[in-house]
Symmetry: C2
Amino acid sequence: MKRPIGVFDSGVGGLTVVKELMRLLPNENIIYFGDTARVPYGIKSKETIVKFSLENILFLLKQEVKTIVIACNTSSSTALPLLKRHFKIPIIGVIGPGVKEAIYATRNKRIGVIATKATINSHAYERQIKRLNPKIKVFNQACPLLVPLAEEGWARRKETRDIANFYLKPMKKSGIDTLILGCTHYPLLKEVLRRVLGNSVRLIDSARQVAYETKEILASEGLLNNKKKQGKYIFYVSDELQQFKKLAKNFLGKDIENLKKVNNV
Amino acid sequence: MKRPIGVFDSGVGGLTVVKELMRLLPNENIIYFGDTARVPYGIKSKETIVKFSLENILFLLKQEVKTIVIACNTSSSTALPLLKRHFKIPIIGVIGPGVKEAIYATRNKRIGVIATKATINSHAYERQIKRLNPKIKVFNQACPLLVPLAEEGWARRKETRDIANFYLKPMKKSGIDTLILGCTHYPLLKEVLRRVLGNSVRLIDSARQVAYETKEILASEGLLNNKKKQGKYIFYVSDELQQFKKLAKNFLGKDIENLKKVNNV
């Protein structure tokens, strides 16, 4: 089916998921929406995150998407259960895939989760891990300053290492062997996180697993695009284009084309 | 006149202005709106900031305010000139008052301005300083990480000092004797800024001057409230109440009462 896959995020972070979708499903058309006028979501309340997510979904539905990927941990953890009840088309979040990969990776059954305040407060990761394996111990840490540090391009600065160290110290003590990067911005900080935690801790970035799950769901619903043509990509944002373009390269690994502003949110 | 003074900000920072208004004009009724669902403004584009500011003004006009104070540097620097053209009631921003106080304070005619990206990019401070005194040298620095650090309550942490030091190093070298705190969050970081810059640099926080200017304008337009009763205060936010309540105490210096959520933005 030619209809596009719809992806949304509060901003630019969800492009890490788009990158993996492009790689795994090169024939699929993708429409991305980044809500850059109202970013960030992670410091806001459940009610507001649900409202914004709902509006984003309605926008993507107008673009005739065949499935929706919520490439935002905050929205996936806070709004997805509610949204799934209301809509017929498949909606895929980033929590489940991340959880599966982390459970597969851990040896000592001690998993850490770092994320925004809203994601940590939702307990979504903890609940899903416990449901699949109640014996696993989960250690949570909200890291609200990591998003602005990543957006500022401060990934390699000493101050970022100090702040990451402050956030991760309790986790390091608790002896985790696996850490879920519960925010799509955090893959940009992999290097500093590795430096703080050491090589023995496996870092789980759910983007690839989300792409696999999307492929599986499209296949099982008979929605895959069987055309052999290269997929087309359109990117929409709610704020202006330049800042997004600049940041996008870091996340997508290449320049962004076909970028448009929408005023509907 | 009994009608209230309307004040808005992108979030909680504008309460530093409300605090001074309460002190200087104890009989005035005040209605505050904090756009906490869409905070922050400082990383967004002019077009988006103008749109949000306009919506905030329309909300306050519905509350029958007699004047509007934009207690947000980003909105004052980016949107105020345009908004002033459209509305009849007096609209007071924070840039002019801060500039006046800084020009009064400087001895060596070297003034620094720290603010959000949007405020620095607007050149509003620089332009207004030069208009009043073209001989003054202005040194600008966007400090995007200071808002999240202040909101996290990290004012006394070493990491904040390191980051402030990084931002202010060029300014220190340039020999300023006066620094405009061009964002309503920065007064919370006064102590760390003083530690980084030393006691010889005067820190200008425009809140008090904004209150004086508001009083002057109300007086000249015959809009002062002559009733001897203590003013009433209503606070509105666009996101949930608890987080705002918690932060508000830091800015207002006392507990907040009469706080309501609105869904209209």
